[in-house]
């Protein structure tokens, strides 16, 4: 069994948070036939989170530090990665 480096581990793991900007999502399921429009995106209004069907509600974009590990790693050069994660 080959040794798994921390870098390989980071490259293979996605954490529970997602990549910003938040993607528009079209949600399938029993409710899809009810929805009168095809637009659907995650939104936040007065810090209440919901799926916006109007296309006009406020968006929330997670800061870069809360992106997935895969996206974080992709944004680093080899040198930057080694400098920040010298223990890998």
């Amino acid at each position: 069994m080959s040794k798994l480096s921390r870098r390989q581990f980071l490259g293979g793991v996605s954490v529970a948070v997602v990549i910003a900007p938040l993607p528009a999502v079209t949600l399938a399921g029993p409710s899809a036939s009810f929805s009168p429009v095809h637009y659907a995106a995650r939104a936040v209004h007065q810090q209440l989170s919901f799926i916006d069907l109007s296309g006009h509600a406020g968006r929330y974009t997670a800061p870069a530090g809360n992106h997935s590990t895969r996206a974080y790693r992709a944004g680093l050069s080899e040198e930057e990665f080694l400098r920040k994660h010298w223990f890998s």
């Binding site: 900007p21 919901f50 069907l53 974009t61």
Partner: protein, 501 residues
Amino acid sequence: MVDFTKGGPASGYFAPLRYEADVYDCEVEGVIPRELDGAFYRVGGEYFYPPIREDDSPFSIDGFISSFRFKNGIVDFKARWIKTPRFLNNLAARKQLYGVYRNPFTHDPSVQHLDKPYLGTVMNTAPIAHHGKLYALKEDAQPFEMDPNTLETLGPWNFNGAYKAQTFSAHPKVDPVTGDMICYGYEATGLCTDDLWIYTVSPKGKVKHEIRIKVPYVSTLHDMVLTQKYLIFPVYGYVTSIERLKAGHLHWAWDQTKPTYWGILRRDGDGKDVRWFKGPTSSVMHTINAYDEGDKVIVDAPISDGNPFPFFPSVDGSPWSPKLAQHTLRRLTFDMSSKADTYQEKILDPQDVVDLARVDDRFLSLPYKYVYSMMADPTKPYDAARAGANNRVVNTYFRYDLSNGQWLKYFVGDVHNLQELSFIPRSATAPEGDGWLIGTASNYAEMRTELVIVDALTMQEQARVILPFRMTPQVHARWYSAQELPLTDKPMPPYKGRVQS
């Protein structure tokens, strides 16, 4: 299995929390005023299981209560789900059994209870304390009593059977002169009924007066306001019907053709004297204050000209308008000596404000000077690199002086989004406005909740309490002192384990 990828909370700061919390002796920056002996209670929502439909309102979220207990400059934090029958039924079934916002026709048949829609409540809107008891409120059911120290759910309360309405508003008012609580339920006799039942509860918790009236049309009646003579109820914009619910829609839709009505009736009457004043379409989700001025009734409120919530659709299919959803501080004048059924409406200031305004509660129903609320001040810095790009944040508390129109502002920080504040008087005899503002902010960069205490006279920050995590945003929050609730000094239950001798 719980899967939030198909709806419900967003990601990042708004990703599901899914835990209850206790933090003893919280981290504090600055100095907490030693006079603060009480608790700041926040009620909001946190989905335990995701909603079943993408178009659901966030007001369907499971109720969640938290408290910051202050004593001798020390703060302890606690957070719990409110254990409604809905929460417990879902947990027993290990899935979401309930449908969309206040529509039992969309619930699983095992929990539908069409004749008892209150059994589907999520109890996620506001706290209130009266007669030494703490309650969580949601306007589709009677209040749930909560233990003010442990935040355990004690269950629904009907005031020993004297409170007859099926529902109870999230915005009762406590008269500072008499100590009475004025509370009410709309849709009081069941789904989509036009019954508005109003109650006066004594400082000892006894129902002492009931008034039953009908509303011009069934609408959300989220808040009310009172003077020393009158009770005042706004009816506006949102509509519902049994047919609408049977069709599977959310409880409310916005009808731009509906006029605004203000019902005014004597506090000591039987409701037959109610007068409905009619005005243009608007939304009055929340009020500020009201008082008598001779034969006139003065009402202040943050009012918008259209639908404030993008998740409640229009009946005509028209798109939601962010512009019509903007709120301004407005003053309405009702002439009770006139036979006319209209009123005067004046915009006090054109600035867009959050419609969660508060006053020094000792001046509720009385002439007063200061309004406190929040706004998104675009002149203040926002660190998009740390807090996320393009997020509209409410970054400023303000004090608006009704006597001269002056604004005094407090800026919370460049990565923060504020939530509703409370005013705490410095002492029982302090003049109006002498005290502190207290409220929480979401720190988008550090992914944590912070509580700020601001001197209400200078609008300078006194202290900041740091939670080591993000806590679910509230809907409403209130401060209550140790004179108003039986608060204990011990933060945690006594240790009963073994010790080495």
